[in-house]
């Protein structure tokens, strides 16, 4: 319970312990701690940067996608327009062609009609001449006359 020489022994021990800690223990472990702290801080900063970059690239990807979509819509639109245009052109061409063909056909018909008329008139004329020839060759009775005329009519009717 009393103070005695132990006091000095303890003081020497204490001083030695403090010296030992200061010389061999404290700086080494604190350095390890600080180094790790720096490492962790660096790692966290890198992770933050990575996150930021990811965000940026995601945004860019979104933008690109958006642009591409718009472009695709444009392309489809244009194609539609072109298709319509081509269709219209083809339709117009077909119509003119059809009109021309119809016109040609009409003209042909008119010509054919004309030709037929002409041929008919010629034939009629020839038949009249023939009939007249026959009449002139035979005695004409009323009977014969009737027959001839009906023949003639029949002929004309047939040829018509």
């Amino acid at each position: 319970m009393n103070l005695n020489l132990t006091l000095f022994g303890q003081m020497i021990t204490f001083a030695l312990f403090v010296w030992f800690t200061k010389r061999f223990v404290w700086p080494v472990l604190i350095k390890a701690i600080n180094d790790r702290e720096a490492k962790i801080a660096d790692g966290l900063a890198a992770a933050e940067r990575g996150h930021h970059e990811l965000d940026l690239s995601q945004e860019r990807a979104k933008e690109l996608l958006h642009e591409a979509k718009a472009k695709a819509i444009d392309v489809v639109d244009q194609a539609h327009k072109q298709a319509t245009h081509i269709l219209e052109e083809a339709r117009a061409e077909a119509r003119t062609l059809a009109e021309r063909m119809a016109q040609l056909a009409e003209e042909e018909i008119v010509q054919a009609k004309h030709a037929a008329k002409m041929a008919l008139q010629q034939e009629l004329g020839m038949m009249v001449v023939k009939g007249a020839e026959r009449i002139l060759k035979q005695n004409i009775t009323s009977d014969i006359n009737d027959r001839m005329i009906s023949d003639l009519i029949a002929e004309v009717g047939v040829s018509e």
Partner: protein, 265 residues
Amino acid sequence: MSSEALDTTQYVHHHLTNLPWTHAFLQKKLGDFGVINLDSLIVSFILGSVILLLFYFLARRATSGVPSKLQNFVEILFEFIQKQVKETFHGNNPLIAPLALTIFVWILLMNLMDLIPIDLFPMLLKTAGVPYWRMVPTTDLNVTFAMSLTVFFLILYYSVKEKGAVGFAKELLMHPFPYVWMAPINLPLSIIHELAKPVSLALRLFGNLFSGEVIFILIALFPIWWLQWILGFPWAIFHILIIGIQAFIFTILTIVYLSLAHESH
């Protein structure tokens, strides 16, 4: 009855007696002061050496990468001390943190010896022929005063070093009353103020641990085993708290006192 009372007294006395060692020459020159408490010296030295060697080997294998569990645990302790020093001590002195760490772990370990059953080591060593053995060094005033006086000398050293002899003398003479003519009153007040630091540090630690020890001894005197358990167990749990708190208070006050030594008022 009287023999039983004597036994009890002897038991308590036995538990509160250090293992003495002395030399005829020391005894003649210094009287009672010439004694050395071997148990205090041995236990405290073993405890301090073990923990510091553990720290030393950990420090040698310390990595700034992923730490081992033990390194991690010790690092928590180091960072705890470093935080306390950083918060309290604003100067730049590489001694403060290692000093605080040494004080904290050493006192903590010495206090922890209080939780070992009080009869265990004295009885074991008695069979080996050792008559007395006190297992808790911090219940010896010599141990607590050794630390507080060392801290006191550091306070004086850094006060003079940081403020200069004149600055320190001025502080002693001009506080707490800032008038020159009050210096004769200021000086004794300042001296008491300074001396109170080591005395309070040492006595606080000693008082807490000594009283705890005495209560453990008294509990051990109860003749019924389950009563010992009922009283001893809560007291031990409560004591765990005291052990840590006393180590912490000594450490923090050391930092504060040394911080004051570095700052002029």
